[in-house]
């Protein structure tokens, strides 16, 4: 379980730890596999903490984050990943686009 841990000030976000995904393709797949309600619950819980999360992460060099901090960054990147859905589209029916899974991400 230790490998799954978030930094201590953000331990309360553990129920959303499944969103701490390293690769964009994984974050996109998670968004696609979730209901809008689940996505919104994640966004509503983590978005208000983003400023504090970034303030915490800024204490470390970006290229040398420890494992809990790396996971915290991935969590923040997942909030970015879902923000168009929660802030702009709001409903899946509003999306008029190809499946994001057709976009092969090469990182």
């Amino acid at each position: 379980m230790a490998a799954q841990a978030l930094p201590a000030p953000f331990a309360d976000l553990a129920p959303h730890g499944a969103w701490a995904l390293e690769r964009e393709a994984e974050r996109t797949a998670k968004r696609e596999a979730s209901t809008v309600e689940d996505v919104r619950a994640f966004y509503d819980a983590v978005f208000p903490r983003m400023e504090a999360m970034v303030a915490h992460l800024e204490r470390f060099p970006l290229d040398a984050l420890r494992e809990p901090e790396r996971r915290l960054l991935w969590l923040a990147l997942s909030v970015v990943e879902v923000s168009n859905l929660t802030e702009r589209y709001r409903r899946r029916e509003a999306i008029r686009a190809v499946s994001p899974l057709t976009y092969r991400s090469v990182q």
Binding site: E24, F47, M50, E51, V54, L57, E58, L62, L73, A76, L77, V79, V80, E81, S83, N84, E87, R88, Y89, A94, R96, A97, V98, S99, P100, T102, Y103, R104, S105, V106, Q107
Partner: protein, 401 residues
């Protein structure tokens, strides 16, 4: 704001181009596609990769150029010279590298019989060589392809003797982008998406901003400069010998989404890289035939993107999208870059559905022509340049235009 909001400025700037409809046939015709293979893609300079794909001497990159029915090996030699070859073994024609990229400082080995080539494409090893008859290895290196590099972009030309140097081919675009700090903006992300469309339909759909408020109302419909009637207006249009530029500005003080407001607080900016060559805030260059370079102004730093539209067949295209940003030096910057990338990616996924719908519609032949407005002038010009190369309507189809 520097943009002139009045309509019909560009046809007045380029009156010789005309204003009539453009035939749809080139976008759906298998015959036209066959001519494009020979008269466009085998005769012009094609961007195949960037220096980022060849990160150090002794590395290679493979580009499958399906439209030219070949696979190319781009090698950055240990002498730091970039060369291109057909990725085809001299023995029996096998593809030498089955990988997309790799290191070749100890040579490239054809997987079929282990024929070995060095980083200059020379054949240097043949297993059981004594069983061959009069085999002169010096005569059996990889087949070279004309290759040149401009500002870190690697181009090839498949013509036996290219009519122009790369720099002459780039012409006024090369002048305009002289000294652009591309090399200070490393590759951030690549996407590839295969679409059921013609390559020109996909390119044309990107080559204007008229569609933004309609195709992308929730994502960026409010971002680009609009006139009082909420229609987009370009800041500038430049038609070069083959290539084009349009440039535009953003709406000042548009309503920010919560995430954008947050980014304003957490992104302290980076080293503050600015592209002096920007004409407006978003400059869109089409490098004929199939490449786009986009320069854009960001709140904290500038960046660029490239598109390559890779034709597979008349009705199939790979859209390759790449973003390049100055390397993020802190977490807030990294998150800001991720946001911009995700926003534009989601816009592009809305575009992809249009690219396919446009092809389906045109392929029905319900319409013989497409109609372009003044703000779509670069598409009109693209089709003129293309037809100048292809010559479909100069021959047997002259009456059909």
């Amino acid at each position: 704001m520097r943009t002139d909001l009045r309509p019909k400025k560009w046809a007045a700037k380029y009156p010789e181009l005309g204003t009539g409809p453009i035939p749809a046939e080139p976008c759906i015709s298998p015959d036209y596609f066959e001519l494009e293979r020979e008269r466009v893609f085998r005769r012009t300079w094609i961007n195949v990769c960037r220096i980022d794909d060849l990160p150090k001497p002794g590395t290679y990159f493979v580009r499958d150029l399906v439209v030219c029915k070949t696979s190319l090996l781009i090698i950055r030699g240990t002498d730091d010279v970039i060369r291109a070859f057909h990725n085809v073994c001299s023995h029996r024609g096998n593809l030498v590298s089955p990988y997309e990229s790799g290191a070749c400082n100890t040579g490239l080995f054809c997987p079929f019989h282990n024929w070995r080539y060095n980083d200059r494409g020379e054949l240097i090893g043949v297993p059981d060589e004594e069983s061959f008859f009069d085999l002169d290895k010096k005569k059996h290196g990889l087949t070279p392809v004309t290759c040149d590099v401009w500002q870190g972009f690697v181009f090839v030309n498949l013509a036996p003797k290219p009519e122009q140097s790369l720099r002459a081919y780039l012409g006024g675009v090369g002048d305009q982008l002289e000294g652009c700090p591309f090399n200070d903006m490393p590759l951030f992300q690549t996407y590839k998406v295969e679409e059921k469309t013609n390559w020109k339909i996909a390119l044309d759909a990107q080559n204007e901003i008229y569609h933004l408020p309609f195709q992308h109302p929730l994502l960026i419909g409010h971002t680009f400069l609009l006139n009082e009637q909420k229609h987009t207006r370009l800041l500038d249009v430049r038609l070069y010998e083959r290539h084009t530029l349009w440039s535009c500005e953003f709406v000042e003080g548009y309503k920010l989404a919560p995430m954008e407001t947050l980014l304003g607080k957490i992104d302290r900016g980076g080293e503050g890289l600015r592209i002096k060559q920007l004409v407006g805030k978003f400059d869109f260059y089409v490098l004929f035939p199939n490449m786009v370079i986009i320069l854009f102004r960001g709140p904290a730093e500038d960046g660029f993107a490239t598109y390559n539209f890779w034709p597979l067949a008349v009705d199939r295209t790979i859209w390759e999208i790449r973003y390049y940003f100055p390397k993020a030096n802190h977490v807030g910057r990294r998150i800001s870059q991720e946001f911009f990338k995700c926003l534009i990616r989601d816009v592009q996924q809305e575009d992809s559905i249009a690219h396919e719908a446009l092809y389906t519609g045109l392929a029905s032949r319900a319409k013989t022509h497409m109609i372009f407005q003044d703000e779509e002038i670069t598409i009109r010009y693209f089709h003129k340049v293309l037809e100048d190369h292809v010559g479909y309507y100069r021959g047997a189809h002259a009456a059909a235009r």
